[in-house]
C-alpha cells in the first residue's frame, strides 16, 4: 500500500444542530487521484474547509504527513503543502495573471520587507528566480500568452486553469480541487482531465477533488469516496462505486416495489 499523505480520523463538523460532516474517516495516499462525490449539501465543501483550516472540526483529527492540522491557521496549512481551488472562482481579479502566481509563491520566499523595499541583491535574485519559475509554470499550464492580462478578463476556462496553476505555485504536494469542471463544456472537461493527469504524473502531486461530472470522476479517479448527509456511505474504485447499491440509492432514491 502506498504511503498515507492525509488522514481524516472520525471528523465531525457541526453547525449548531446541523451535522454537516458526521464521523467521517478516510485516507489519501501519496500520488493518487481521489474523488469526493455526493448529492448537493452532502458536506463535501465542508470537508475541504475542515482540511484547509477554514473550520476547526468539532470532533476528530486531520493528520497530514504525521502532523495534526486541526488548530493551524489556513496559511500555515498551505505552507505545509496543501493548496486548494474554489467552487466559485476566487482569483485576485484586478491583478495580472503572473502576479496571481507570484503571490502564491510568497509562502516559500525568505526575504524580508526591508530587503524588498530597498531591493537588495538577495531580493533581486530571489525575485528573478521567482519570475522564471512563474513563467515556466504558466507555460506548462498553457497560460503564458496571457501573463500580463488582468485575471478577471480571462475567459472562464482559463480562469479555472489559473486557479489550479496558482494552487500549484504554492509548492503544495496535495491539491484540493473544488468542482474544477463546474460550468465547463465537454471539450473543456476533456482538457481538464488531461491536465489533472499530467499534473499528477509530471509534477508528482496528489489530487483530491470534488466533482459532479461523473464522466470526469469515473475517468480519472483511482478511488472514490461518497458522502450523503454528512456521512461517508461508500469508498472504493470507480467500478465498485458504480455498482454500490447505497450510492445508487443516494443519487436516485430507493426503488419502490410494485404491488400488482
Amino acid at each position: 500500500m502506498a504511503e498515507i499523505l492525509l488522514e481524516l480520523k472520525n471528523i465531525s463538523m457541526h453547525f449548531g444542530g446541523l451535522k454537516a460532516v458526521d464521523d467521517v474517516s478516510f485516507v489519501i495516499h501519496k500520488g493518487e487521484i481521489l474523488s469526493l462525490i455526493g448529492p448537493n449539501g452532502a458536506g463535501k465543501t465542508t470537508a475541504f474547509n475542515v482540511i484547509t483550516g477554514v473550520y476547526i472540526p468539532t470532533l476528530g483529527d486531520v493528520i497530514f504527513k504525521g502532523t495534526r492540522l486541526n488548530e493551524l491557521k489556513p496559511y500555515k496549512i498551505t505552507e505545509m503543502g496543501i493548496a486548494r481551488t474554489f467552487q466559485n472562482i476566487r482569483l485576485f481579479g484586478q491583478l495580472s495573471v503572473i502576479e496571481n502566481i507570484i503571490i502564491a509563491m510568497h509562502c516559500r520566499r525568505k526575504t524580508n520587507m526591508i530587503q524588498s523595499v530597498f531591493r537588495t541583491i538577495g531580493y533581486l535574485k530571489e525575485e528573478k528566480a521567482c519570475i522564471e519559475e512563474a513563467e515556466a509554470l504558466l507555460d506548462y499550464m498553457d497560460l503564458l500568452g496571457d501573463k500580463n492580462e488582468q485575471a478577471q478578463n480571462l475567459p472562464y476556462g482559463k480562469q479555472r486553469k489559473l486557479e489550479i496553476a496558482r494552487a500549484l505555485a504554492t509548492g503544495a504536494e496535495l491539491l484540493l480541487l473544488d468542482e474544477p469542471a463546474a460550468g465547463m463544456n465537454p471539450q473543456e472537461t476533456e482538457e481538464l482531465m488531461d491536465t489533472i493527469q499530467r499534473i499528477r504524473k509530471d509534477l508528482e502531486k496528489t489530487v483530491f477533488l470534488i466533482e459532479h461530472d461523473m464522466k470526469l470522476v469515473m475517468g480519472i479517479s483511482d478511488r472514490i469516496v461518497v458522502f450523503d448527509y454528512g456521512k461517508l456511505i461508500a469508498e472504493g474504485t470507480p467500478d465498485e462505486i458504480k455498482k454500490n447499491p447505497r450510492v445508487i440509492e443516494a443519487y436516485l432514491g430507493k426503488e419502490v416495489e410494485e404491488h400488482a
Partner: protein
C-alpha cells in the same frame, strides 16, 4: 522669466501644507487603497504624531529630529496596538471602529491638561520648512512605490482582492493587515509631526473627524490604490479652497460639488485603475 512670485510666503505655506497632506494621504492609501481596509480615523494618527512630537520638543526641549522619530514611532505603535483588535472587523464595521478611535483620541486630548487641553500646545519650535517637507514627500513616494511593487506589496494587494483566497494561498493576512496599518499610521504621524513644527501651534480641533474625511476625499478624488492619483487628488483639494478664497464661505461648497461630480462620472477617481471594495 521671473518665478519669484512662486516663493512668496503665502504660496510656500500652501505648498508646505499640501506636501504634509500628501504624506498622510499616501499613508491612508496604503491602508485603504492597497489593503482595502476602510479607515475613518486617519487624523487620529496624525494627532498622535503631532502631540507626542510637540510635547517632547516643548516640554523636554528635544531637537526636531528626535521629536520626529518619537512622533513617528508613537504613531506606529498606536497603529499596531489598535490594528490587532480592530482589523478582524470588515468593511463598515471597521470604518465605525476607526471612527470611534478617532473620536476617543480627540476627546482625550481635549481633556488632558498636561497636553494643553482645549488650548492645545503652542510655542512649538518652528523647525520645518518647505524643503524638509518636500524631502519627506519624495521619500514617501519612493517608499510606497517600492513597497507596492515588492512581494510584500503583492501579498497586501491580494488581501484587498480576496481575503479568503489570499489566506488559502499562504498569506498571513492578519500580519500583513497589521503591518500595513502600522506603516500607514506611521506616515500619518510623520505628517502630524511636520504639521506641528510648521504651524507651531496645535489644538484638538485640528484633528477631528472632518480631517479624516478630508484626507479620504483627497484619496477618493485622485483614485484609491494609485500613488500618482493620491498625490494629484491631494494637490487639487488642498489648493481649490485657497484659489476660491474670494468666494469666502461658499468655497467649501465646491469641495462637495467636485466629489459628487466625480462619483457620478468617474467613481474610480481621476487616476484610479482599480475598484476597491471596502
Amino acid at each position: 522669466m521671473d518665478f519669484s512670485f512662486l516663493f512668496n510666503d503665502y504660496v510656500v505655506q500652501v505648498a508646505t501644507n499640501t506636501g504634509i497632506n500628501i504624506i498622510m494621504v499616501l499613508g491612508l492609501n496604503l491602508i485603504t487603497g492597497v489593503t482595502g481596509q476602510l479607515s475613518l480615523g486617519h487624523a487620529a494618527f496624525m494627532s498622535i504624531g503631532a502631540y507626542s512630537s510637540a510635547f517632547v520638543s516643548t516640554t523636554l526641549g528635544a531637537p526636531f529630529w528626535v521629536a520626529l522619530i518619537i512622533g513617528t514611532f508613537t504613531g506606529a505603535l498606536f497603529g499596531a496596538i489598535l490594528g490587532i483588535p480592530i482589523l478582524r472587523l470588515r468593511g463598515d464595521y471597521l470604518a465605525i471602529a476607526t471612527l470611534g478611535f478617532g473620536e476617543i483620541i480627540r476627546v482625550f486630548l481635549l481633556n488632558t491638561s498636561f497636553l494643553g487641553g482645549a488650548l492645545g500646545i503652542y510655542n512649538i519650535p518652528d523647525a520645518t520648512n518647505f524643503w524638509v517637507v518636500l524631502g519627506f514627500v519624495i521619500f514617501t513616494i519612493f517608499f510606497m512605490y517600492r513597497l507596492e511593487k515588492s512581494r510584500h506589496g503583492l501579498a497586501i494587494k491580494s488581501i484587498r482582492e480576496d481575503e479568503i483566497a489570499s489566506e488559502m494561498m499562504g498569506i498571513n493576512i492578519a500580519r500583513y493587515k497589521i503591518i500595513s496599518f502600522t506603516i500607514g499610521s506611521a506616515f500619518a504621524a510623520i505628517g502630524g509631526t511636520l504639521y506641528a513644527h510648521f504651524m507651531t501651534y496645535i489644538n484638538p480641533v485640528d484633528f477631528g473627524f472632518m480631517k479624516s474625511i478630508e484626507q479620504l476625499c483627497m484619496l477618493v478624488l485622485g483614485g484609491m490604490g494609485s500613488i500618482f492619483g493620491a498625490v494629484v487628488g491631494t494637490i487639487v483639494l488642498s489648493t481649490i479652497p485657497e484659489i476660491l478664497r474670494f468666494a469666502s464661505e461658499y468655497r467649501m461648497l465646491t469641495y462637495g460639488i467636485v466629489l459628487i461630480i466625480m462619483m457620478i462620472f468617474r467613481p474610480q477617481g481621476l487616476f484610479g485603475k482599480i475598484k476597491v471594495n471596502v
